[in-house]
Each structure stands twice: as structure tokens, then as C-alpha cells.
Symmetry: D2
Subunit: 353 residues, 4 copies
């Protein structure tokens, strides 16, 4: 039957596997997309490990692009057959949070994080899109699906880390951790005019990629105290620090590495940090050093996706060196295992259909 | 001799007393002011208790106004004999921090906090002013010294708490604690267009003053969980919360009381909080709820002082109900004791000369 | 028949009259409101005089509140029978302009200005609401309809004039013209912490109302050169000037009255100014004096309406002194004539149903 | 005598020539710099043609770097012998305008524009620096003087044109005119994350340089209506337009090329435009299309110079392809003539010492 599809699902705590189910339907204002390319995210690994309470059988994934398969009543911005990208975060554009501009917090904290968290994810042959006119972004001609898919999460998250960091033109920036999110933040800091970018990363392959993506130097946290080193190198601290891991050590490093009046921009997911995150009061000037902390979750929506894909199409950034591995959907379990266990220097595995 | 003066000094840990010493001199670019009115600050109490490492004999005080007594070479903005106010924080306007706009962090963290912390304070008959052209602000005719003196710290601190809080017009604001700083923040939230102001305070006299200053309601933290109550009253949390005490409980209350995408504006001094300040990760959305934290230290400088005094002169705010006590300088020790021990429902003691 | 209604329509260039027609229907995502209170706007007068190309028979009006009469499929935020306010400007929340935050420009320039301009207005017993979940704002209990109706345009427009003006706390503001929009801007400047508000207005009744609404002084443009007087009073010009009329003279006055680095916030409708608006280059520093010009059109949407009504409900502003006249709908032609010809010192006529 | 020097002076309307005079002295807080590299600016040409009222004999020039020759009393940030750059604009950092952050407007409109306009310029073997601690910026080791000199005006002006343009990440930008300022603005738009840059320029050599500096395409205003073409290419207009010439046609082009809600950033000098600048009201949405206009004058100060030179030192931008010509000071008259008459496709002539 053509109306069945396969996808990668949570089978039970820590277990994943391909399952078969019905292709979703498009209700009013909704769409269904036939997937052409996906990336697996560390957040999928977190989900499988129990970070987000999801039922067994829930499909994983939130970084996918494809072709419009069906549209529901009232959808007017795209037609069946168009190539489209959909952000991991899918706001409705209407709730009070969205009207205030906090679209990732649609309806409440983290509310626009729907794939996997609230409904089936899109590591599957087809996926459902709520509020399609708000969320479906046509992929420009000439931009390959496997490039466009970076706009769904990595670029949106990494770049917003830089956008929120109040980087003065020519200013100094530290990016703590150079996984896929941190590497994307490095791309973002470079894209937004930072004059000096110091990355913090211990894995040599990632450090090399950080330099390729625009870092001026990379500090190994195993070999030095990065915050102290950064303060020494910059005469007091960077203008902006980006937390791209989600750990007490990198968070604290950001606060310590930033000068008075500087900004700490958090895009790390602190689900593994226990109930609290700790601020060192000496480095925080006892609450009076003028430091600012911002936090965000991958902003979505068609308009932003259009701008992110323009950056890709016009050669402003090239995140594809992060695609270290490729697998067809049939091998998604293997891909997930390599990702979950950080084998083989993996950064991002691309799933093809 | 006319070139001796009296002032209130730290005599040793926890001890204060009036001392006599030479009237300071005005070097190039500097000025000396003959004091006419001062307010004692809780920060003076903190200093005496050892929060800031200062030598015995150091004069206390940083909230004073007066008349220009002497100006050094090159000072051009005021003349001897003019009534002037000087902010508690006295930037040089020239260092990199100042050029970036972080004037309170002049030369480094908290660097423009000079009175008491780096030189004699101004709870004294005369006081010294660095970078006089940057810092001396003429007091408008018709504005009494004992009103203008509120611009030196309370208004500047309280109002910046509100200015940094990103209050949308008609938005909702919580102000945690209603001491002099919190009451000033309540004035500020009202002044900047908040549509609903919820104060948190347990002392009845302060709660009453909070309402007089513009709070729509006041929650007693002994009788309720303020953050939970605020979330219930606002359908998810306030747009902005102001931390005006400097304690883990109020800090955490601010984070819990704020909705996703909201701003926590810290103006509390967290010197008594131990080495760290703790963020509850559930209320922080694991670092992804779009919450922002800002911190600041009483912004100074003539231009700001001019605006603050305009607010006073034109009847926009009246902080004088906070002046619960008055003493001549000769009784400053008594005033300090009452302030230090929070006797007699004191809020601010005015010292006259 | 109960499904017919009356409303005030354009009958031909310069002519208006009550007409009867079908009550509109609510399609998917739409609503119909039974009107309880309306205000007539000078923009209605402009429309009748041909400023906006509209067909004969088009209903006028865009400032109305009422009770939900019907909701279309998919509308979930309100129920039939609820009291609601709808802004004059009704964005869809979904187009690229809306996603970027320029909701008044929905789909293109001035695109969310639909009533009268693109469909029937709401000076009628019933009116249609597009994108109802985005635009319908419940009126708080205790807030009268005839007060809430000020949120539909006057407050939203006047306040955004102040919001866009970059008023520093305690700063100086000039508001050029004190018709209903200018008076609302004066309310806004006061609400947002201006330390000195100078209104420019020649009609004594409006000047008096300007003072009541918060202006510190009012200059008569027939008796003085307001810009020169403002520069003299402020030592070089105001921080912010608000253009609330839409005329070359007030526009130029704003540019001349503003100091270097200041902001000119335009909320005037310049439809009668001919094809161009002229900037005096001397006052503009030949394009290098750091002056900024902002323009806006009455921001709409439920979330903003909720904040504006909170200001009304909590006593922050009281625009009702602007309601100089009241008429039942049956006398709407008379009301319109008085408004069109500025008879009897009219400011805003309220229409009741 | 060693205390005499040569420099290029205005000799009378339209006439320039090398003159000899005393090396300036450094008063308190001041410095004197021995020049090592200068660039001639179109503003020098304007000055000679009478745009700024200056006396005969006044030295020209405001783009120079060199070595500290003498420092006055109280100067502490640099020592004699250090290589330094000084911005064309030299604020005092202390006046009300500076304290508010409008440092180019020091003391009043365009007030920090001192070289040539208010005192001798620095197309001379030595030059004077007011407020030396505020304005002297050490040149990093490894950065050549002839590169650093671009920070004095071209980069600061061009980049602020982009900084003020509110470019959303990946957004669309038009830069009208590709002289040295416009080319620098193109560098700035690229540096700040624009996703599409459309330059407008008719001279082939400049168009080629625009592409080299980051423009995606260049429109020839002689061959097309650039604003109409830009609107067509972008589906309604760019997010941001930069006016880099100072002419009614380019100004109007910016307003017409920008979409509703967009920003026009003016860095052109409109001294030749007659008494007024004209805004087309249709493209301005009758004052309601949400368009914003910003204006600025080359921001100065050590801190900004440090960031600009960091961009140069770390290879973020390379403006040196604009150095089309080189002359020793002895040939400055020839250099000026070529610049004034735009001969030989000149963009920037470098003067060496």
C-alpha cells in the first residue's frame, strides 16, 4: 500500500528502530511533506534517553526537508510538489507568545517544539506540518536538499546564538564547545562581524573544523583553563560568549570569559545538568557587572527559513563539512547508534530517502 | 581651621564613627563639593560588614549633593558656588568600558564605584569628585537638595532596573522586595508604562509605600509562594521581573515568576549569597525558554543625572516618602545604627549639614 | 429580518449616509461582531474625501468594539457572546511582513488596513473580523465598551508614536499637534517616562486637554516659531519629536525641534501633502546629524490590544475626555458632518448602538 | 628648523597647495602625532569647494595615522613613539551628546568633526589630537599603517552605514553608489550577515570592486531604474538600503527600493543637494509604511578604532584594493587634483611621508 511509510521510532528507553505506519493526513491549514533528506540531532539522542517524556512508538527527528505531498484546506502559500524546508520548531504565529515575537515559546515554554516532543517526528518518509502557511519555506532552485536541511535546526540555532550575543562589529567572541551547534555558532559569529573568535574544544577534528568555519584560535579545555586564557588574550574578557553545549562547566566558562558589560548567549540544552545551573558570583560582579544572559530555542517560521536558505544559496556559509556520515533510511538505526555513542568522529549523519 | 572637616568613617569591622580630616583638594579635572544633604545606603552597611575590602578610617557614603567648593584646572562645566548632584558611580567617560557605554564598569568590573570602595565616601562635609565635567550635574532651581539627593543612587538604580527589564507598554511586571531600591524600581516600572505591577514584600509599611508608588498589588512572601501566585494571576508569568534585594530566594522567585521570553532584571547586590547564585532549570526551560537576565550597577554621569532630576523637578516621581528619618551629621552614628539594624521601620535616613 | 443591518457608507465623493445590508458571515478562521460602541476617525473623513480609492457603498469606520455574534470554523480563542475589541488594523500574523514583526504592513505596504480600505468598515451594527484568533481581544470585566474602544486606534497609534520615539527616561519630547492622535501621543510620552513634554497646538480646548493629559507646556504655532522656541527651551532641541498631524509644517517642525542624535517619530497621515515631503537639510545636518525618522501605522493584534486595555482597566491612562460628543447610530450622519467640518470643538464622537 | 612642517592647505576657494607652518603643541590631555600615512577624502574636495566655511590657510585632511610625537599633561593611554590611528571624528567623550552615545555630535550637530572644519586637518607631517586618551588607538603589530588608515573614516563610515541598517541575518540590502564610502558599506553589509547585496553603480571599475567586496549583483543606474529593479528582484523591496553618495536621486532610490518596514541608512553627505531633501510619499506609504531612516557621521573614539583595526588585522576585510593611487606628500597637490576631478578612475589616493 502506498499510504504506509517507514520511520525511526523510540521503541522503549534507549531503544530505537524502524517502524511502519500510516502516512499522516493534512487537516485544515496543515500539510504533509514527503521527506528527501534528514539530519539526526543530538536532541534525538537526548529524547531517547528520557530527557523529554515521550511515549514508546513516537517517531524521532526534527531536521527534514522534502516535497509537499498534500495540503489541507486553506493552505495557500505552497502547492503540492514544491520542495520545502520546515524548521524543527513550528509556531502557530497566533498565540500571545508568537504575537510578542517569542515564537519558539508558542503557547508556553518550548511550546513550538512539537516534533517528537508532542507528535511524531520527521525521521520518516513523510511528515506532518502544522500551520503550513506559517512554516513551509520553499527551497530555492539550485540549493540541494542535503544543504537546505541545515537550516532546519543547526543554522537556526547556531546563528541565533550569535544574533543574541550582542556582538559589536569587530568585537571578541568565545564559543564554548564545537559540536554541530557550536560549529554553527562559530559560523554565525563570523557571519555577524566578530573581529576575534576563540573556540573552546578538545576534539582535534572539531577544532580543525572550527578553524575552517572561522575561529581564529581554538583552546583545548583539557590543556588550559579556557576562561582564564580568554581573559588574558583579550585584556579582561570577550564581548560575547556563546554556550553551545549545555553543561555547568561551559556555562560557567562563558560567565568567567566575558568582560564586564558582556553578553552570554546560551543555546545549549541543559537537560543533563541536574535541577540547577550555577552562576559564579565573583565573575558575575555580585550581580552588578553589567553582564547579560540570553537564552533561546531554534527560531522557526517560513520567513526566517527563507533568510537562512538565502545564506546557503548565496554561498555565505557552508555547513556541509559537518556532514561526516550518510545513510539511507534503511540504515537509520546504525546512524543513530553512531550518533548516540559519538563513534567515528561523527558530527552530523545525513539520512537519505 | 576651616580646612578640616568631619565625616562618618569605618573604624574597624562593624564599627563606625565621626572623624575629622582635611578637606580634599581638587586636582586637574577634579572638583570638591561642600555637602548639603546625604542619604545613608544599605551598601554602606554592607561595606562596614566587610562586603567590600576597605581600610579602617575610610569615609562612608555615596549619596550626597552640595555646592561646588573648588574646581581643578580644566574643569569648565560648572563654577564654584553652583548646586550640584553627583551620582554614586563616577565614570571617567574615557576608558574602553565607558566608550562602549558600560560606564559603571569604568576600567573593569564595578570600576566606577569609587566612593568608599576606592577612596573616601561622601557622608562628610566635603567630598572629592573625579572627572568633574563628566560627573557634576547642576541641580535645577526649585529642586530641593533633599529631593535631588535621591538621583544619586536610589532613582538611578531603581529606574535602571525598570529600564533594563524590557517592559512592553502595558506589560506585567513583578518587583521582588520593596526596600528603597525595590520601591524605586516600582516607581520606575510605573514610569515606564507597565500595565500591572505586582510587588513582593512582607513588611506592611513597605507594602503600603509600594502601593503608593504604583504597585497594583503586593504579595507577602510569608503568606504565599509569590512566583506561583504571580504565574496564576498573569496566566503564565510576568513579562518582566526585577530583583531588588540580592538573595537567592528573590532571584529564584524572579526566574520562576517570569513567562517564557520574559526578562529578569537584577539590581540586587548578591554579596551575601555565598559563592554562587542558582538558576532553577525547570523554570529556565533547560536554557531554552527565551528568558533573559540583565544586571546593572547604578548608572552615573551628568547627562543621566540631569534627566533624573528633571523627573523630580517636573513632578514625575516623588521618592521623598522614603525619607523616614532625618539627622544632622553630628548624629550620623545613630542614623547608621538604625539603618544597620533596620529599626523603627526605617527606609532612608537623610543627613543634613 | 434579523439578518439585515445598518451602517454608515460612502455614497459618493464627499457624501455619506446610513444604508442597510446583510449581516456578514464568518468563514473559516473568521468572526462577526455585533457592535456596541464606535468612534469616528479623521481617517474616515479622509476616506470620504478620496484619500483612499474606495467604491461607493463601502461602509466606513474602523474603531469599534462589541460582542461576538458568530465564529467560523477553527476559531478557538473566543466564544459567541464574549465582549471583544478589534484593532483598526487586522494582520493575518502569517505573511512574511507579519513574521518579521511588521504586522501593520501585512502582505505589503499598509496591508493590514482592511476596514473601509479593502472591505466594509465597522461603523455598522455588525462587522466582520479576519483571522479572528489573531485579532479578537476580550474586553476585561469592568472596562466599559466606550472606554475600550479607544484601544482600537487612538491609543495604539498615539502610544506607538511614543514607543518609536526612543525617549530616554526623563528625556524631552515635543508632540506636534494635539488632535486625537496627538493627545494620545502625549498620553504615551507621559506613560513612557518623558521628563518634559512640550505640545504644539493652537486651539485652546485642545491645548487645555494636552495639559490635562501630561504636557508640561503647550506652544501656539500662531504665536511663536515652535521649533525655535523648543530649541531655546531645551538647550538645543528635544530628544524626541512626534509628528501627529501629517503636514509639511509639523513634519519640518519635528526635524527642526530635535537635537542632533534625536528621533522623529511620525504617526501623521501625509495624504494631503502632495507627492513629496521635504526635509530641511540644515536641521538634518546634511544627513549626518544622527537624526532618525521612524514611521508607523496603528499596530494591531490581540496581544497588543490586551496590553492597551490593561492600561485602561488599571487606570494608567484615561482618554475619555476626548469623547466630546455622543450619538446613536441613527444620527451618525450628523456626527460625521460635525467631525468632517471640525465643528463645535469636536475631538472624538462616540457612536452608540 | 625641526619644528616646522609641511601640509596641504586651502589657499582660497578651489585652490590648494603645500604650506609650511609650526608643528602643533600638545596641551593638557592632548597629543601630537607624526604622520606616516594619509588618505585624501572626497570631503576634502567638498571643503575646498566651500561646503564647509573654512578660512584660507586651513590645512586639509582627516584620514591619517602615525607615531606619537608628543603628549600633553595627563595623557596616560599611550607613550611617545607608539604607532597610533586617530579617527576623522574626535569626540571629547564628556559632553551631553557624548554621554548619550552620540559622540559624533560632540557639543552639537557634527561637533566632533574638527579636522579642517574647526582646526587644521591632518594632511600634514604632524597633527594635533584633542582628548588624546579618548581618541588615540594603538595600531596592532603587524598591521601596516597604509592599511590601518582605512579605519579613520572609510571603514568607520561604511560600516556604520551597515550597522545602522537593521540588516536581519540573511536579509537583503541595497547599497546606492560605490565610491569609497559605498564600497566600504558593501564590505559592511557583507560583514554583518546580509544574504543578498545589490549595489548600484555605473562606473565599471567600481562595479567590479563592488563584486569583489561582496555585492551579489550590481545595477547600472544608467541602464535601469534601480529601485524598480530591486523591488522586482526581491519581491517588494530590500530589508535595508544604504545611501552612500549624498544626492536626491540615490536618497529617493533608497526609499523606493526598500520594502514596508525596511530601513534606509544614510551615510551620504547631502551638502550639494540644495536646501531640502525630498521624500516620495507614495513609496513612504504616506508616512505609515513602517520605513525608518537613520543618519550618521563616521563614529570615532579609541574603542571603535580598536575594533575596526582588529577586523583589518585578522583579515575580515581588506579595503586596500581601493588604494588606486600613491603619492608622497610633495605631490599632494597632484593627488588632490586627480581626486577632485575624479581622473584616472581614482578611488582613494594614499599619501606617504
Amino acid at each position: 500500500m502506498t499510504d504506509r511509510m517507514r520511520g525511526l521510532a523510540l521503541l522503549g528507553q534507549g531503544e530505537v528502530g524502524l517502524v511502519e505506519r500510516d502516512i499522516p493526513a493534512a487537516g485544515p491549514g496543515e500539510a504533509v511533506v514527503r521527506t528527501t533528506a534528514s539530519l539526526i540531532c543530538t536532541s534525538d539522542v537526548h529524547a531517547v534517553r528520557g530527557a523529554v517524556p515521550i511515549p514508546d512508538g513516537r517517531l524521532l527527528g526534527h531536521e527534514s526537508v522534502g516535497v509537499v505531498h498534500a495540503i489541507g484546506e486553506g493552505v495557500s502559500s505552497v502547492a503540492v510538489g514544491e520542495r520545502v524546508a520546515v524548521n524543527a520548531i513550528t509556531p502557530d504565529g497566533t498565540c500571545d507568545y508568537c504575537q510578542r515575537g517569542f515564537t519558539s515559546q508558542c503557547g508556553g515554554p518550548l511550546g513550538a517544539y512539537r516534533y517528537t516532543a508532542r507528535k511524531d517526528g520527521n525521521l520518516a518518509e513523510y511528515f506532518h506540518v502544522n500551520d503550513a502557511d506559517y512554516n513551509l519555506a520553499p527551497i530555492p532552485d539550485g540549493l540541494a536538499d542535503e544543504v537546505a536541511v541545515y537550516a532546519c535546526d543547526m543554522l537556526s540555532t547556531g546563528l541565533v546564538g550569535a544574533e543574541n550575543a550582542d556582538i559589536p562589529i569587530g568585537g571578541t567572541v568565545a564559543v564554548f564547545a564545537q559540536g554541530a551547534v557550536g560549529l554553527s555558532a562559530t559560523l554565525g559569529a563570523r557571519l555577524l562581524g566578530a573581529g576575534l573568535i576563540i573556540a573552546v574544544e578538545g576534539i582535534p577534528e572539531r577544532a580543525a573544523l572550527a578553524k575552517r568555519f572561522g575561529a581564529d584560535l581554538v583552546l583545548d579545555p583539557a590543556a588550559t583553563d579556557p576562561a582564564a586564557e580568554i581573559r588574558a588574550l583579550t585584556g579582561g574578557g570577550v564581548d560575547s560568549a556563546i554556550e553551545a553545549l549545555g553543561a555547568q562547566a561551559t556555562w560557567e566558562g562563558c560567565i568567567r570569559a566575558t568582560r564586564a558589560g558582556g553578553t552570554i548567549s546560551n543555546i545549549g540544552y541543559h537537560g543533563a545538568d541536574g535541577p540547577t545551573l550555577s552562576i559564579p558570583l565573583d565573575a558575575f560582579g555580585l550581580g552588578m557587572a553589567g553582564k547579560k544572559i540570553t537564552t533561546d530555542l531554534c527560531p522557526g517560521g517560513r520567513e526566517r527559513m527563507t533568510r537562512l536558505m538565502r545564506l546557503l544559496a548565496n554561498g555565505r556559509v557552508d555547513p556541509t563539512p559537518m556532514t561526516t556520515h550518510r545513510f539511507p533510511l534503511a540504515e537509520a538505526e546504525t546512524a543513530f547508534d553512531i550518533m548516540a555513542n559519538k563513534k567515528d568522529n561523527i558530527i552530523k549523519p545525513l539520512i537519505t530517502y
